[in-house]
């Protein structure tokens, strides 16, 4: 693509006259077997929101880590305020006012919300921590973000979304000059995302620069004034936003025309594969819920955070205790854990990849095979050759970009980790698949692949339940959409011709649009 030579277009961007707050020059970063960044340049100006886009594994997080001091480049250099300098550690970056909110949460789970917000900067009086002051200031920061949580609670007890908001509160309270948001919204609901975008705008207006990494196009278009596009570790283009149309931006990212990325196929539904009867959780997060899914059907589940949609998925997968009746092809599935669910033909992919899905210290191969242990062992002995073969096939089929099957899973980009987590469940050939936020942190190209894979499995006769907080995705991929509100299903729609607003209305109010309030 000839645009590669357009790196110099940086200078045509707004603020071209002023010195960039941070500028990276020809940054190269190699990892064993991969060139993550190959001579990449970027100029980030104060008072702007700068989007950094590209496919999974294109090097976005690596560049963010170099600027944030977490990684040292093998080539190239950084300039801050026009001065050439190295940033050796995250602490040094903090000293320069560069604050990163990363894809991976970095909170201390056993400390309170307030302690986490002010970690390393606890207010002191006469050498002692001033707890009242700490709690007050933490409450102020969180109120300012519109987040309501007891600041004394241990962070480990909070939901992923709240944890992410605490992480954001920490960054915001530090008066950053450059705020790096590396997929900070990937575990946020729409409402929380809105709040974050408001904060981003506030910070920008204050004069801070924001480097925003996200796979969610609408956010980038809403917030950013320019975008730098990376592909395979190389700088592809700098383009103005929102003036560059989405298809054009996507084309820069993936290097080809993507077209309609749902490519929804209508499959004639077959026999009933899943029957759920009065499924409920003891804590009441999920009130008795019933549902049937037929072979070939993709059922979308929508709802706000806390609506019970996440618990519905977890209960089906046996991840949390529940009662009621679940039948697969007429056979009762015991509700006493993931093992019974799997044995009964229900595969579950949790939404929190890091906490509940990855084996961080193991290889890509083992992260696949952990879901196949029973299929790969005979009388306890592992079929090593069979495993190698299946892993190789899965890497190929699910398009996982990895240096080798033996690479540690944590060396993969977030989107590629997600493909492993999904692929291992898909590859079991189960009758029912329950997928919670399956495309979180996944790039447009890979999303499209995942949608196609879901439809392939549906066409092969699986019944699929997809739980998502992204409405466009549900409308694009599902045949039928259920909306949860306060623990129960409050609306059911045929997805054909459905509008987002109709679903959103039920999700927010529990009643269909147009009904008397």
């Amino acid at each position: 693509m000839s645009l590669t030579s357009e790196e110099e277009r940086v200078t045509e961007q707004p603020n071209a006259g002023s010195t960039p707050l941070v500028r990276a020059h020809g940054i190269t970063k190699r990892f064993p077997g991969v060139v993550a960044l190959d001579g990449v340049g970027i100029a980030i100006h104060a008072g702007t929101v700068h989007a950094l886009t590209g496919e999974n594994g294109s090097g976005k997080s690596t560049l963010a880590n170099v600027i944030g001091g977490a990684l040292q480049p093998d080539g190239g250099h950084l300039e801050v305020d026009g001065q050439r300098r190295t940033i050796a550690t995250p602490a040094e970056a903090l000293g320069l006012g560069i604050v990163t909110i990363s894809q991976e949460l970095t909170l201390a789970p056993t400390l309170s919300v307030a302690e986490n917000v002010f970690l390393g900067r606890l207010p002191r009086r006469r050498g002692r921590i001033d707890w009242n002051e700490l709690h007050e200031r933490a409450r102020e920061v969180l109120d300012g973000l519109g987040v309501h949580v007891d600041v004394r609670r241990r962070v480990g007890e909070l939901s992923v979304e709240l944890q992410q908001e605490v992480e954001i509160a920490r960054a915001v309270s530090s008066q950053a000059r450059l705020l790096i948001l590396d997929e900070a919204t990937s575990s946020l609901s729409e409402a929380a995302t809105e709040r974050l975008l408001a904060v981003v705008e506030r910070e920008r207006a204050r004069g801070a620069a924001i480097l925003m990494i996200s796979h969610r196009m609408p956010e980038l278009y809403a917030a950013a004034s320019q975008a730098t596009v990376l592909r395979d570790g190389r700088h592809v283009a700098d383009v103005p936003l929102p003036d560059t149309a989405e298809p054009a931006l996507v084309r820069l990212m993936v290097g080809r025309e993507l077209g309609d990325y749902y490519r929804k196929r209508r499959v004639e539904p077959g026999e009933t594969v899943l029957e759920v009867d009065g499924l409920t959780t003891p804590g009441g997060e999920l009130r008795p819920t019933s549902l049937t899914v037929r072979r070939g059907e993709i059922v979308g589940v929508a709802g706000l955070v806390g609506s019970g949609k996440a618990e519905f998925g977890m209960a089906l997968g046996g991840a949390i205790p529940s009662s009621g009746a679940v039948r697969v092809l007429g056979r009762e599935v015991r509700l006493d854990g993931p093992r019974s669910a799997l044995g009964g033909g229900i595969g579950f992919v949790p939404d929190d990849r890091k906490r509940a899905a990855l084996l961080p210290t193991r290889s890509v191969a083992e992260n696949f095979a952990v879901a196949w242990t029973d299929q790969l062992t005979r009388r306890g002995i592992l079929d090593a050759r069979g495993e190698r073969k299946r892993v190789a096939e899965a890497i190929d089929r699910y398009g996982v970009v990895t240096a080798s099957p033996q690479s540690r899973i944590t060396t993969l980009s977030g989107g590629n980790q997600q493909k492993v987590v999904l692929g291992r469940v898909f590859a079991r050939g189960l009758d029912v698949l329950v997928l919670s936020e399956p495309t979180r942190g996944v790039d447009v190209g890979a999303k499209s692949q995942i949608y196609q894979l879901m439809q392939d499995h549906a066409a092969e006769g699986a019944g699929i339940v997809i739980i998502s907080s992204e409405l466009p995705e549900l409308l694009g991929i599902a045949d039928r959409i259920l909306v949860f509100f306060r623990g129960a299903i409050h609306g059911e729609f045929d997805a054909a011709g459905l509008e987002e607003e109709e679903v959103a209305h039920v999700a927010v109010s529990g009643t269909p649009r147009g009904a008397a309030a």
């Binding site: 064993p32 077997g33 991969v34 060139v35 880590n65 990684l71 995250p90 990363s102 991976e104 949460l105 970095t106 789970p109 056993t110 480990g156 395979d232 993936v254 290097g255 080809r256 997968g317 991840a319 993931p338 093992r339 799997l342 044995g343 579950f348 949790p350 890091k354 906490r355 509940a356 899905a357 990855l358 084996l359 961080p360 210290t361 193991r362 083992e366 095979a369 952990v370 879901a371 242990t373 029973d374 790969l376 062992t377 306890g380 002995i381 592992l382 090593a384 190929d396 089929r397 398009g399 240096a403 080798s404 033996q406 944590t410 060396t411 190209g445 692949q449 196609q452 894979l453 392939d456």
Partner: protein, 362 residues
């Protein structure tokens, strides 16, 4: 493949993949991450062979093997437990308790076969008890094994009023004495035994469903559970294996001491755990293996032998092994820090291991 149509791999990408697979081959030989310890071991060996002429003699080397067999057997068990992100502090006490059972039953005139079976089963039972309290009663492994460290030791003292049982010349003891003293050609039988134990343990870790499940549980218990692994059972078995190893180790120990000592060697526990950690098994769980443990045991054994040969007071040995432990594990941590801070944090995240989980449920 046709329907996903991913961007075709660029030539440079395939080249990188090829370079990578060569590296993987080296990695599979598993010397890569042991390089540090192996280099240190080589340095110590060269130094000793220059300064101590006895060091490189066959007899001395085989002595090292025999003197470290108890440690090795226990370290194999500890490797399983540590991979599961736990630790078994009771292992030396369990060995002493099993040794007393061996001594008492043999003294009481039981047949040797029965004595050996009872001793090993006793060790297994002690491990099961640890595992039961940790997995079923959900008490933190630190609390449980710290408690049984004291209880098992106390049991060993109580059963015979604290007295050592001398077994020299007792009927049946000859079998045990043969086990620790016989040679197969130039090799001590214990060396052959150690090799077999290594192969068995390595085989279990690498080529069985249980081995995979153990690593998965140590790496992320929640992910393991969601993939249908019975986490409690896997952990229970790990502690039971440690108990089994304590039973076996007690037989070797009784053979070498020609008696059952009620008091366990105070440095034994440290040495065992140090050997495992020096060998690259991470205390955070989900990583490591018995090959590293062998290297750790040999390293500590050689250093100990060197100190003895150089007439350094035995009192110094604790300082030396402690310092080696800290530097070996510390260097590992430093090396990782060179990687990505974030990755390391991720690996230590809240749910990453029972290292934190059981504590909160206790």
């Amino acid at each position: 493949m046709t329907q996903n149509d991913p961007a075709p791999a660029s030539p440079s990408e395939t080249g990188a993949v090829r370079a990578r697979s060569a590296r993987d081959l080296l990695g599979r030989l598993s010397l890569g991450r042991y390089t540090g310890v192996l280099v240190a071991l080589a340095v110590v060996c060269v130094y000793l062979s220059i300064t101590q002429e006895v060091f490189l003699t066959w007899d001395n080397l085989m002595n090292i093997v025999k003197a470290n067999t108890v440690i090795f057997v226990l370290a194999v068990g500890a490797t399983f437990v540590i991979i599961a992100a736990g630790i078994d502090l009771s292992t030396a006490s369990a060995t002493a308790a099993s040794a007393m059972i061996l001594g008492l039953t043999l003294q009481a005139g039981w047949g040797i076969a029965l004595v050996l079976i009872v001793t090993i089963l006793f060790g297994v039972a002690l491990g099961l008890l640890n595992g039961f309290m940790i997995t079923k009663l959900k008490i933190s492994f630190l609390v449980v094994t710290l408690g049984t460290l004291s209880i098992y030791q106390s049991f060993a003292l109580v059963v015979n009023g604290g007295a050592t049982i001398s077994l020299f010349g007792k009927p049946g003891f000859g079998v045990i004495a043969d086990f620790v003293n016989t040679k197969v050609g130039p090799f001590p039988l214990l060396l052959v035994f150690n090799v077999l134990l290594l192969l068995a343990a390595g085989g279990v870790l690498r080529y069985t469903g249980y081995g995979r499940a153990l690593f998965a549980v140590g790496s992320n218990p929640e992910a393991a559970r969601l993939n249908g692994i019975n986490v409690g059972r896997v952990v229970l078995i790990a502690y039971t294996i440690a108990g089994l190893c304590a039973g076996i180790a007690s037989i070797v120990q009784v053979g070498r001491l020609t008696g059952a000592s009620a008091q366990s060697d105070p440095t034994l526990l440290l040495t065992v755990i140090a050997a495992v950690l020096i060998g690259g098994t991470a205390y955070t769980g989900g990583e490591g293996g018995v090959l590293g443990t062998v290297i750790g045991v040999i390293f500590l054994g050689v250093v100990q032998n060197g100190l003895t040969l150089s007439d350094v007071s035995a009192f110094w040995q604790g300082t030396v092994s402690g310092a080696i432990l800290i530097s070996a594990v510390g260097l590992g941590v430093l090396r990782e820090r060179g990687g990505s801070l974030r990755l390391r944090r991720a690996a230590r995240s809240p749910a990453a291991g029972p290292a934190t989980a059981p504590g909160s449920t206790a």
